[in-house]
Amino acid sequence: MGTATHNRILPGRRADVVRPLGISFILMAMMPLVLLPLASIFFYGFSKGPVHFWQALVTPAAWFSLKLSLITSSIATSCNVVFGLIAAYVMSKYDFKGSSALMILISLPTAIPTAVAGVALLLVWGRSGMLGGLLEYTDYQVMFTTAAIILANIFVTFPLAFGVMKPAFDNLDRSFEDAAETMGATRWQTFRFVVLPSLRGAIITGALLTFARSIGEFGSTIMVSGNKAMKTQTAPLYIYAKFNEGDVEGANAIAAVLAILSFAIFSLIIFTQKRLEK
């Protein structure tokens, strides 16, 4: 708005060279890193024509992997929105002993290789793991099922959801909550009618980021899912399997779909931030 008019080069004023140079630099840097690889996905995906692309997409295994990814990511996202909200609310509102340690703990999965996260989950939930051992006596098994994929997604993407929501809670003016409370609202009413509406931008952004991240999740999923086609093979795992088989077009067809999905999600995030954060 104000900055746009400000940046416009006024007559009689020397042209701003930083602007075109800066933008070119970003594009140049992105060329080999993002733009060319992305373009090649589409190029190889469509290299045998759109019909072949479509056929590669609708093979039962490919179609199943896409659906599985969407479903598991949706469930993981819903869980993390709730967990993220609770964690961000508690961490932002209360200062308690060990709260800094807890902050580090919550953010830790970001720095752990996702494959390691998968192994860690296996160690806990696997046959001989702490919790998995308890399940031994029931008929139920967590690892190498859809539940394992969801669990891994929750584990890996939780810091993302939390990371987006925590600053929103921090920036929330405390006097809104004070005002609601003096007006007679219970904590739940305050949260429901005052806090939540103010955070909807952060919640939507957090959810979209989490979703985008979990749909592409590979490292932890391959460890815990078992990678069984038509059973526990998510889209990224399917791509990996197809590459191993030498079916580059088949892999790229799904990759192209994921790329488009990601593009759509981030467009939505930017739209949300512009529209709702006002």
């Binding site: 003016d173 006097s175 005052v194």
Partner: protein
């Protein structure tokens, strides 16, 4: 049966208060609050009568906002009691106290329209939509904002936001209204206009109000009573006239209006600005027992006369020199330098400011120039025009001995 009812009525109508006194709406007793090692409030007690207003006045950091938060139930006191209409409330949560708070930045809910903000208190009380709407409309008319009901808080002016905040607090018929520096965010003109509106509105509402402010004009205008808070202690409570005309402490005097404070001597019950008068008392031999005290006088309490001369019945401060004159329209403000004085010399003033032009003279480090502020009406100024460097006699029309001698 009738007898029993009669008895009960007598019982309920004879609480400790005398009949002549008004019913107490809010009573705060011995309130103390610590934040870590810092004591924010130290044994604060005051009360507000039904339908009246009290202004808690003090500089920032004096603990006035803390007091408000304790009364609202947003913080808990470390000791002391709070009574709302005789009901013991400090163990109750904010939502159980039925108090209306108008916050400093109003804290209107940004995602709700003006009407939804006003209706919020009723909504969470489960009031039906229809009844709610009627009440909201009534309040919108009261604040003259019917046309703005569907606007969001960010789209209305600061003054309008304040009205909405008040309407929002009134909607659920609170037992007490608390205003937390509610005028400080407004521009001066709106501030004065809204202050007057609220001053006129309060008696109609018959709801007791507590205002928090650091602005003395606001305190004078809005308070039936003013309580002056300094560093967590209550210095004085009284009507605006009482606290202005009879300040109990130097802090109260200088915080409320401007004040000249000088040191004089007191001996054998005689207060003298000139210590020789003390010396002439029958107990002059007790010179060492001579007590020093401080007196306070307002700029408008000073009489300037042609030097020398003027009436004997007023205490004489000696002959001064006009330092500067500034014309403010309705009045004239002068700074007058009184002659160098030492404790045992001309007068007993040793109240030596230590900076700038007031710094003590080199020759005698007990001596200093004493500069006082004088306010004259334009009529007085016309009767005796004064300019810089004019010599003038200085008398006091009125002064107060400060009971609490603080250093």
């Amino acid at each position: 049966m009738a007898q029993v009812m009669f008895d009960r009525r007598i019982q309920t109508e004879t609480p400790a208060e005398p009949a002549a006194e008004k019913k107490i709406a809010l009573a705060v007793q011995g309130l103390s609050k610590w934040f870590g090692a810092d004591q924010i409030l130290d044994d604060v007690s005051f009360s507000i009568a039904e339908g009246e207003s009290l202004v808690l006045l003090g500089p920032s950091g004096s603990g006035k906002s803390t007091t408000l938060r304790l009364i609202a139930g947003l913080d808990t006191p470390d000791s002391g009691e709070i009574y709302l209409h005789g009901r013991h409330v400090e163990h109750l949560r904010a939502r159980e106290r039925n108090v209306g708070v108008i916050f400093q930045q109003y804290a209107l809910f940004p995602r709700m329209t003006v009407a939804d903000n006003i209706g919020f208190g009723l909504r969470i009380r489960g009031v039906k939509r229809k009844a709610r709407k009627a009440k909201v409309e009534e309040l919108l008319s009261l604040i003259g904002m019917n046309d703005h009901r569907d606007k969001y808080p960010s789209h209305i002016s600061g003054g309008q936001q304040q009205r909405v905040a008040i309407a929002r607090a009134l909607a659920y018929e609170p037992e007490l209204l608390l205003f937390d520096e509610s005028f400080s965010a407004l521009d001066p003109q709106t501030r004065v206009a809204l202050r007057r509106e609220i001053r006129n509105l309060l008696p109609k509402l018959k709801i007791p109000a507590l205002f928090i402010t650091h602005d003395q004009d606001e305190a004078m205008e809005l308070g039936d009573q003013i309580a002056i808070l300094n560093k967590g202690r209550l210095e004085q409570v009284g009507t605006p006239q009482e606290v202005y005309n009879e300040p109990q402490t130097e802090f109260v005097a200088s915080f409320l209006g401007s004040a000249n404070v000088i040191e004089v001597c007191k001996n054998d019950g005689i207060v003298a600005l000139d210590c020789r008068q003390c010396a002439e008392s029958p107990r002059a031999h007790l010179w060492d027992a001579l007590e020093r005290t401080r007196i306070l006088f307002r700029p408008e309490d000073v009489i300037l006369g042609p030097a020398p001369g003027l009436a004997e019945e007023h205490p004489h401060l000696g002959q001064g020199v006009v330092l500067d004159v500034s014309f403010t329209g309705a009045a004239e403000v002068l700074r007058v330098k009184l002659p160098r004085m030492t404790r045992f010399g001309y007068s007993a003033v040793v109240d030596c400011p230590l900076i700038g032009e007031n710094a003590p003279a080199q020759a005698n480090d007990q001596a200093c120039d004493l500069i006082i502020k004088v306010l004259r009406t334009k009529w007085d100024a016309q009767a005796l025009p004064l300019r810089r460097d004019d010599k003038v006699g200085v008398w006091l029309r009125d002064h107060r001995i400060l009971s609490a001698y603080e250093n």
